[in-house]
Symmetry: C2
Subunit: 225 residues, 2 copies
DNA sequence: TTAAAAACAGGTATAAATACCTGTTCCGCA
DNA sequence: TGCGGAACAGGTATTTATACCTGTTTTTAA
């Protein structure tokens, strides 16, 4: 991957030492210009309005401290930046490697995610990647996204054998149809539908429809998208 | 991003010309070795079993033609590889830039996604990135993932106001507890639990628990992971 | 600082789902 | 080729969920 023209970088980070450290590291590379910095999420939008040189890439600390009572975390900064400056790339820096954290951020418009204990080379790659490719997602982040999307590669194998008829009834059940409605649709008796449902309960180890629905979603029998 | 040691690459692609073309391009770079190739999805697993040098990165054509009647597309190859060779990185090559296609693939274990009309440099970057970082997702792919996750975000905003008590009952309902069990757990009457459930049905526009469970999953009130 | 709204608790019928059965048919396999 | 197993269809009680109410308390906003 080649670094083309200079990249303007902004930093939103409350810890002074960390902020200065990152700045020092970034300035070690010729084509990185730190053109913006802010210590808290609240002032970011305000300060950006007064700036002539907008950052291409904004590094945002996830754990920005809420000012007053109102929450305005890295997530909110991300949301606001995505809304106001759609061309700006947001690269999250965080101490968390919690899957949910990562997924939430990416879902809300972050272009990349990096844990804070990454080495300088990783930071460099992430910035370049975010700038040139439009995103930076490493293996850890991808895994988080996949698991939050309900990747079910493993479970596919453990699938109990659901018969075609049972699957059909499961699918219709997930569409909030009652046994009676399913019976009408399939031209069979309500009792038969309930019979199949009971077999499904046993096969999937569920106690009631709730379990069936969750099973169906987990095993990609129905999609909730 | 620096290319470290040599990368062993496999190609699963039915179009001979395209396969040869990619091979020629890859061989132009010193540290890329094409060690495996296959024209269809079916023979991949079989052939891999007989191979001594396993590919680090497998390029998989998404639109592999189904052999006979049985479907065995790039998706199936991806699933099979993820299952059998968890360390192998799967990089999808596709003519489609359909969001659903991309998301499905990533969900099922692909480590990267690249449209076929990308230039050689992009292919190079993708292979290196998949190999060293464990993933390659460019702006287009990220957008697809985000938008497929995005429905959740929208729904979050349109969220009807579920009261804390209702959310609690919804959560327990999703754990396959009956109204009676929930009542015991919360030290309230079964009638009260049912009252809350009814309010939930109305608020979420559901017909029965099935709808509640799907609502809860869609809105991240419960996790199915 | 009160009205209004919403949360919370509970009640009564009724509809639906669940537990537990029987019998037939169809298919793989030894 | 006929045996075992599973799919499919149906039936009977019983349990559980749903529809539709009333009243009290707590929040919200004008």
């Amino acid at each position: 991957m080649e670094t083309t023209s200079a990249i303007n970088i902004g930093i939103v980070e409350d810890q002074v030492l960390f902020r200065e450290g990152v700045k020092a590291i970034l300035n070690n590379w010729d084509n990185f210009n730190v053109v913006f910095e802010s210590a808290d999420g609240h002032s970011v939008i305000e300060k950006l309005g007064k700036t002539t040189v907008l950052p291409d890439v904004m590094l945002v600390d996830l754990s920005l401290p809420p000012k007053d009572r109102k929450e305005f975390s890295g997530l909110h900064v991300t949301l606001a930046l995505a809304e106001l400056y759609p061309d700006m790339k947001v690269l999250i820096l965080s101490v968390h490697d919690d899957e949910n954290f990562i997924t939430e951020l990416v879902k809300h418009g972050a272009h990349g995610y990096l844990v804070k204990d990454s080495d300088p080379q990783e930071l460099h790659d992430a910035i370049v990647s975010v700038h040139t490719l439009g995103s930076y997602i490493n293996a850890r982040t991808l895994k988080a996204i996949q698991s939050s999307m309900g990747r079910k590669v493993k479970a596919k194998k453990l699938l109990v054998n659901i018969s075609p008829r049972e699957e059909e009834i499961l699918r219709l059940t997930c569409q909030q149809l009652t046994a009676e409605e399913i019976a009408e649709k399939l031209f069979i008796s309500v009792k038969t539908v309930n019979g199949h449902r009971n077999n499904l309960l046993i096969k999937t180890g569920s106690r009631n429809v709730t379990g069936l629905v969750i099973y169906a979603i987990k095993n990609d029998i129905v999609s909730i998208i």
